[in-house]
Symmetry: C2
Subunit: 231 residues, 2 copies
């Protein structure tokens, strides 16, 4: 029976796609993918490229990244409807997302709209933070420790509580929030034990293992993550 | 040059191994793997099995799972020394871990002992909680939400703080801690929105999507995880 597959393709390196995702990608009839901002191939599509067959039908669709939910929802509804129609016509349809489909992904919204109108299956992917931890050889947690994933956009209060509570905190989306994040890390004397990674697992990846000298004015790319480790 | 590879092989399904891990497994000269408790093949080895070559040298070693660190450390030191010797003699050596090597894995300790005496590379794997979220089609986080991974062994106080702070909390190692965990979930009216999964992504997997009727006396296996979602 035809299905809709939400496929996590990992952080950037095509080899960090799972065997299952690579097989499903090669079996799809139609692949939906987020439209690249500047035209050209989307990053997700580049990662999946080694696994897809030549005659795969690719539907690049625009997913607006705005704060206004109602603006976004109209667009998502349209794409979800198209996916449902494709599956009902007997096609195996895929949607690829960077990292894992259940961690900060547009796929969640599609899933919510689609509900159980068609059969869906989600394939997990390597998250950016798991990939980063492996690259810098820093364990996220051991034994009885805990860790949290906190986007800088969730605000100073929440981030501070998380820094107090957990042995390790991964801060996502730090790019435009250094003025908030850096003083907090300084307050708890954590600048030395913070690793900052931009473009994890991609060609232009950069890693800093101590951010004591990072300026709040530094321009960082959207794909920048910090791993803060206490003790 | 010969290397030591720490390889995450994911939660249980051999297809959830990454393409990179599957390639490296097929190229290794020696594979270290935790010894199965009851003799026979270890779980990790079963997952990796489709990818390893017939003449691969497999070294099953005993990693004691006791609380006393000094007891464990002697054993780890011995295994680490053996690995270093193997790599220095020109062999490509692997060590496989369930899930991700940087999330609650013995590999962290090996890495600490080995340091930079030989070249090491860590390959991330799909964690049990990412796999579970995909299987039950429940997003871990969206937009500005945060989530935490907390082992039940870290105690009631920490778990309560985490439940107050984050939109989603993954509770690991709940098996023998229901008497502590369940009253807390009840206090915050979260029993209905908790998913409990045993043996994620394995044949004998069980999933419960509402644990209001779960008894504190229930016997659960070690591989049991809860995903608690607020709101």
């Amino acid at each position: 029976m035809a299905k809709f597959y939400g496929i996590g393709i990992g952080p950037g390196d095509s080899e960090l796609v799972t065997v299952k995702a690579s097989r499903l990608l090669s079996e799809l009839d139609i692949l939906y993918t987020p439209e690249a901002k500047m035209g050209g191939k989307s990053l997700a599509l580049k990662i999946a490229d080694p696994y897809i067959k030549e005659d795969l039908e690719i539907k690049q669709r625009h997913f607006p990244m705005v704060r206004d939910r109602s603006l976004k929802e109209g667009q998502w509804k349209e794409i979800a409807d198209e996916i449902v129609q494709d599956v009902k016509s007997g096609k195996n349809v895929g949607f690829i997302t960077l990292g894992d489909p259940m961690v900060y992904s547009t796929y969640s919204y599609l899933l919510e709209i689609i509900g159980d109108s068609i059969e869906t299956q989600t394939i997990p992917g390597i998250t950016s933070f798991n990939s980063i931890a492996s690259q810098v050889n820093i364990p996220l947690v051991m034994d009885e420790e805990s860790f949290a994933i906190v986007p800088a956009t969730s605000g100073a209060e929440k981030l501070e509580e998380a820094l107090k509570l957990h042995e390790t905190v991964v801060i996502m989306k730090v790019a435009n929030h250094l003025a908030m994040v850096l003083p907090l890390l300084e307050k708890y004397n954590l600048l030395h034990s913070t690793v900052l990674v931009s473009h994890a697992s991609m060609d232009k990846q950069t890693i800093r293992r101590d951010i004591s000298d990072l300026s709040v004015d530094e321009k960082l790319t959207y794909f920048t993550t910090m791993i803060v480790k206490k003790g």
